[in-house]
Structure formats: structure tokens, C-alpha cells
Subunit: 270 residues, 2 copies
């Protein structure tokens, strides 16, 4: 770990730095970007996408509220991206994307609300890429230079709406249906990231990005063939295996190797 | 027309005011909200969703660049909402919504870019509602109090992607596929707004909101049953009749009664 280099300063865009954990926190009535290490939040100037110069202020994690690590203008998600998830369905001939509404985002500790009229709602644990700079028409080997890092996500999904509506607008974007956090980890190898999900302490999903049908680099390059990605945009990369129905009182924990754990409670809406 | 009241000041949220035309303009290197009347832009303080206090500065429209009238966090569109458009398809049992990416927005005078690999791309002229304040679980009779006004929109659609992809993410949200403007008109009756579309000067679409399968109030109330609408969010309310293929060099003009004309050129991308 090049800690000497860290002390000299670093930027989020710098490739191949040692892994940093970049969070957005609320502390003492202020919102700030922070670097997390040794169970403390070291506040930095500016946003998570800029230069990460520490202010010298640090707080124990127990004294801060972790917020969604970015406030994206756009959330693009990939469907049907693990063989273990698609079951009997045909293998997609290309990455199959969809949009999620940014104002459906909740952070670590946020509560997933089950709409009264939605029927079955499932968790979908996912590895999430955070875009660092404007990207259009990328090749796969360019993608790493446009990804700030990775975090944990839960692409909460209302199955009856997903099956019965023309498009997935509310099935995937009802309020609170896009959980993300607890922070962004830099320096991960996108070909080898592990994910697992626990529901009330019992493991219900487990996979590695090595098992993806379309790699993270391929998905992001493909998205940029049709639309510009902007700094802070989130890419949900697909969920593995079988998902489970959520009930009020449940706790869902999405763990991503090298990142940490995103934990959310579930409650009935209204 | 209570012009005396207008001179005393007014706010966007004030219901039943005489019709105002609220624009966002670029002039002399600055971006400002403006009230448009008598072919002039009267600059106002703050954003289009706030109090609209004129600064005293006015410019002929010919000297300003009209921008998209808002910068929404979310664009929700309704599909299959005119009998003349759905053709042989079954009548939807509820409003069928989908999301469009806000960074696909272009304003009046912006150029619609045809992706090289998209195949057929059509115009979809639409009446667009602009949300004025945070809205959740509205009843139909509450909706008018949450709509700032209406503008013209073009929900540009790549038909092969729309038919061949799992979801409409790129079919409806490729860069430049969400045209909006030229300004927001307040005080319109959502049950009786006319729309027509010209392609290279020839009328290709015409309808009235009286012909909608699901009224604007019904659509907005329905959307808020699943998700919170935020100030500035745009609601595209559906396109009537048959749409036409766009080609480089075309000009598309969407006219909404009581608003004006949104005019955009078409070009090949790249």
C-alpha cells in the first residue's frame, strides 16, 4: 500500500491507486465527501468525483450518517446478465439495459418501502459501477478509465408490475427501489468481484463478475454506443441466481468484495 | 385578462393566472429564466419554478437562444395513449408509462441526431406537462395544482431498437431523443389542448387532448401512485396517429395550441 503517495494527495481519476473508500456523509448538520479508513470518515473538500484533498477533520463512522455515495443524473441497469438468473429464458444477444429513476435512490440504512398495491417485491443484489467522467462511444479497453469505482446496489423489483406493465417504469423505480452504498471502492478488478446477498442473515444470492454473461466493461461500452454517460451516473450490472420476496421487517444485506455491505430494512409503505 | 394583477407580481404556483410563457434563455453569456411576450424575453430572477419577478431587462427573441425550459431530474412518458396511434393493439388497461433519460434532452433549435446503427427513427409529437412541486399519491382533481404548465415535446423513437430490445432505454433515450420547448405556457385547460406536427412543412400528426385514452390528469395521478414527481419533472403525454421516419436534413415542428412551436432539425450522428 503506497501510503506515502496517499499522503501526498491523490485524485479519483488517477488509475491504479490503492483502493480508496469514498463516501458521502452527513455529520454535524453538514454534508461532505469523505474517505473511509480505520472505521473513520476523513472529510475531503469537494465532491466524490473531484480531487480528494482531506480537510484534516475525521469522525468515527458511528458518528456520521452515510448517504448515497453519489447523486447521479442517470441510473442504467442491466437485466438478464447471469446464466443463473435467466433460467429457461434465451441468452440475450447483447446487454439488455433499462433506466431507473434517480429519485428512487436510498442509501445505506435507508428503508425499502413495499407499495400497498404492488404484490410481490424482490431484492436484486448487484455490483454497481460509478462513472467518473463523461463517456461516449467507449471501447471496452477504455472503460476502466471512466469508472471511479464500485459499490453495492439493490435493484428492488416489483414482479407483478414487471410482468404486467408495458415497461418497467414503476417495477424498478418506485420510491426507494434503488438502494446504493455504503461507499465507492476504487482499484477493483471488474473481472473478479464477488457479490453475496443475505436476507435476514441467510445467504440468498452469491456470484462473481467472472460469471457475468456480458462483462462490466462490455456493458458500459455498449451503453455508451447509444447515450452519453455523465460523472456520477450509476451502472447496475445485473443480479445472479434466484431472488426472494421481501416482507415488512426484513433486513437485506448486499456484500460486494472489496467494498463492504449495503444494509437496508424493509417496511410497508403508508 | 388581469393585467393589473400581473404588474403587481405573480408566482408560477399561483393557479388560474392568465397564460404566461416561461422560457429559459441564454443571452450575453448568461442563462436566465424569462417571461416571453410581444416577441421579447423579459428576464426574471431565479428559476422557472420560483417566483417570477422581472428584473427590468428585456431582449428581442431574435437576440436570445432559447434553452430547454427546465432541467428535469426525471422524464416520464406515456405510451399507447391515443386510439389513432395504437392501431390493432389492445387498449391499455391503465396508463402505460416509461422513463426517458434527462440527458437526452435538447431544446428548441437543437438537432436530433440519428444514430448510425439504429435503423428507422420516427418523430413523436407530444404535449408535455411540467411539474411545479413535489407530488405523491395525487387524486385527479389535485393534479392541476402540481402542474406549472405545458410545452411541446418530441419523443424521438428508434423503432428497431424499440421492437428488438427488452426495454426502451436506447430506443427512447439516445442522445438528443427528448426535444422540449420552446417555453412553458400556463393557464391551459388540459382537457382541450390541440397538437399538430409538421415534417418539412407537411402536417403528419394532429389531435386534441380530448382524444386521449387516459387524460393528462389521470396519467399524472397514476404516476404519483408509484413514484414521487419533483419540481421540473416532465410528463410526455402520448403521441397521436401515425409517425414518420426521419432523415438527415428534415425539419420537425411540434405545435401545441396556446404554447407555440418546437422546431428541430435532423442530422446523421457522427
Amino acid at each position: 500500500m503506497a501510503s506515502g503517495r496517499l499522503r501526498l494527495g491523490y485524485t479519483a481519476a488517477m488509475p491504479k491507486t490503492p483502493s480508496l473508500r469514498i463516501a458521502r456523509v452527513r455529520v454535524d448538520g453538514r454534508t461532505s465527501t469523505a474517505i473511509v479508513r480505520s472505521r473513520q470518515a476523513f472529510l475531503v473538500k469537494g465532491g466524490p468525483l473531484g480531487s480528494l484533498t482531506e480537510t484534516g477533520e475525521a469522525y468515527p463512522l458511528s458518528q456520521v450518517t452515510l448517504l448515497p455515495p453519489v447523486q447521479p443524473g442517470k441510473v442504467v441497469a442491466i437485466g438478464l446478465n447471469y446464466y443463473t438468473h435467466i433460467g429457461e429464458r434465451a441468452t440475450p444477444q447483447k446487454p439488455e439495459a433499462f433506466l431507473k429513476a434517480p429519485n428512487s435512490i436510498i442509501g445505506p440504512g435507508g428503508t425499502i418501502l413495499l407499495p400497498a398495491d404492488a404484490g410481490r417485491v424482490d431484492e436484486e443484489g448487484e455490483i454497481v459501477a460509478v462513472i467518473s467522467r463523461r463517456a461516449r462511444n467507449l471501447s471496452e479497453d477504455q472503460v476502466d478509465d471512466y469508472v471511479l469505482g464500485y459499490t453495492c446496489g439493490n435493484d428492488v423489483s416489483a414482479r407483478e408490475w414487471q410482468a404486467g406493465d408495458l415497461q418497467w417504469w414503476r417495477a424498478k423505480s418506485s420510491d426507494t427501489f434503488t438502494a446504493v452504498g455504503p461507499w465507492i471502492a476504487t482499484g477493483l478488478d471488474p473481472e473478479h468481484i464477488d457479490i453475496s446477498v443475505k436476507l435476514n442473515g441467510t445467504e440468498v444470492q452469491r456470484a462473481s463478475t467472472a460469471e457475468l454473461i456480458y462483462s462490466i466493461r462490455r456493458c458500459i461500452a455498449f451503453i455508451t454506443s447509444a447515450m452519453t454517460l455523465e460523472p456520477g451516473d450509476l451502472i447496475y450490472t445485473g443480479t445472479p441466481g434466484a431472488t426472494s420476496q421481501l416482507h415488512p421487517g426484513d433486513r437485506v444485506e448486499v456484500s460486494v468484495g472489496g467494498v463492504g455491505v449495503l444494509s437496508n430494512r424493509v417496511a410497508a409503505d403508508g
